[in-house]
Amino acid sequence: MSEFDSLLQGMNLILTPGHIGLMVVGVLLGILVGVLPGLGAPNGVALLLPITFTMSPVSAIILLSCMYWGALFGGSITSILFNIPGEPSSVATTFDGYPMAREGRAAEALTAAFSSALIGALAGVLLLTFLSTRIAEFAMTFSSPEFFAVYLLAFCTFIGMSKNPPLKTVVAMMIGFAMAAVGMDTVSGNLRLTFDQPALMTGISFEVAVIGLFGIGEILCTVEEGLVFRGEHARITPMVILRTWAKLPRYWFTILRSTIVGCWMGVTPGGPTAASFMSYSIARRFSKNRDNFGKGEIEGVIAPETADHAAGTSALLPMLTLGIPGSATAAVMLGGLMIWGLHPGPTLFAEQHDFVWGLIASMYLGNVVSLLVVLATVPLFASILRIPFSIIAPIIIMVCAIGAYSVHNSMFDVMLMLGFGALGYLFKKLGYPIAPLVLAAVLGDKAEDAFRQSMLFSDGQLGIFWSNPLVGSLTTAALLMLFWPLISGSIKAAFGWRARHSIKAKTL
């Protein structure tokens, strides 16, 4: 089995004290950004990017990916103890996690959350281990039209499947594309959309947008809600851990179902947030303890957490094999890969064998390290949230400003960050999604190249996107996804489901 050999090779590569130390640092930083309001996995990774330029790509990706796992874990700490989701994807964990903490079962809730998260994550990595080479090999046969169709599918899925209004998703996405177009045109070398402003010549970096939109925007929203962190206390003892673990096998079916939901949503660009919500609502519908949901049901913690992490890890599958990230954080990492001079996509598996398998191996180890670190440090990180907002907020803002500055060593970027911060605040309040903007900003150039090349092949005929069965079905699937809200709406209307559904929703 060649995957197994490659995995062993990867393990060999990463099992050095230096790399394991990086994992622990990454996880700790990740939990920190996951716990702190205003900092999350996407902008944590964006803030760390400048630091990784001096590292080898393998070390850099270990640091960044472990930060991602840490942030996913850290998000559940605040959800359960403080009823504040540190990450959008852990909102669903608050529904039952916080009531459990209120009942004095915080340690049990945390252990259940972390353990099921690990199971979900490992399932995602298994998927990655055994599917990625095959998908990459398959994708080797792709040429520009196929690649553009895959991009189109990813973007249309975002529009059609998003909880946000489709038109607002389009607006956010197009702003991202427009950002990517600013600066040097990769084909002709012309300066585009710079309007003779020297500051715009280097383009608008997606890192700056991420830091502003997620970081500053989040802080402004937090301030407006006037959040006071009043949390429950938790002490995790080995006894509680063992007792909770003994309970987990009872929920094997919930875990299995949530894993499948998570992996599916991670591979398709639904992302962890959608996955955790979907998994929670399915669990509530089918559980025997349906009535206890929302009042402190352990199944209501297990379901979203498993799906969240399964989606988080499997989001790396399309990122590595096709160059399409399944979540905002994966998008930022993809940007990092490109900055390090790697080309995400099928060729990565052939050209950067060590890098890919080092990363996959580090995902196994990194998630186990995350579980151990997070179990040991919960009280420490919970106490960080008790630091007054007037101390923590300016420090977060300073870190954001430094992060934005260090992308290009430019003060203009810091100003831009402020602008994006204001935009992020409005976006969040008016229901515009941010993730598609980031995705488009990172992928814009590649999507454009694929489109232009396809147009060159076909002399400007759009028919090329239906020129063979593969590209044709991809494009058709993309269009189906794009118009899914209309299609599903008309199907429901035709069968008169909508009326019954709305009555049901009201009674719920």
Binding site: T54, P394, M415
Partner: protein
């Protein structure tokens, strides 16, 4: 919030929706005009540089327009408050200092601006029963700045703009040596 002046609505959601739609529309128009400058047609080497961005701008502008129309259609239900006066004052009380901090940075450098920013934020916090002592304020603001110097500048070799003051300290340090 029970206080009526605090919960009084500052602006209806519909106006903000409309404003943002207008903003994104203008953005789309700017992108379109910038693309037209570069040529949006078919040149000797295939599509011209503005070819792709033009349609991006077009989509952005038309989606914004549609958002604006949707807002007008749902004019009544969108009359709900976007933000209350009290909440907005809270937001501004953080946003304005951030803006000043960012604007001061090119002149003072990152370190000095950050230290002053953190100190001011702590000093202003009157919600607490006991205000922070001067020593506490000084140690946290200087400590945070020092930590960022150590981490970014020394450890990871990411140079941060120290501004005129930082340069002064650096020359003084060199001459002392």
């Amino acid at each position: 919030m029970s206080n009526s002046s605090h919960s009084a609505s500052l602006i209806g959601t519909r106006w903000v929706e409309l404003g943002l739609a207008l903003f994104t529309f203008v953005l789309g128009a700017v992108v379109m005009s910038g693309s037209v400058e570069q040529g949006i047609g078919w040149g000797d080497a295939g599509p011209e540089p503005g070819y792709f961005p033009f349609y991006i701008g077009l989509l952005l502008a038309s989606a914004s327009l549609a958002n604006g129309v949707l807002t007008i259609i749902r004019w009544k239900p969108l009359s709900i408050s976007f933000v209350s006066r009290g909440e907005f004052r809270q937001v501004l009380s953080v946003f304005i200092p951030i803006a000043l901090f960012v604007c001061a940075m090119p002149f003072t450098g990152i370190y000095l601006a950050s230290a002053v920013f953190i100190a001011w934020f702590m000093w202003r916090d009157k919600v607490r029963a006991k205000p922070y002592g001067l020593l506490m304020i000084a140690s946290i603001s200087i400590g945070a700045v020092l930590a960022s110097y150590l981490i970014f500048d020394l450890w990871f070799k990411v140079p941060l703009d120290a501004g005129p003051l930082g340069d002064l300290i650096a020359t003084a340090w060199r001459s002392l040596k």
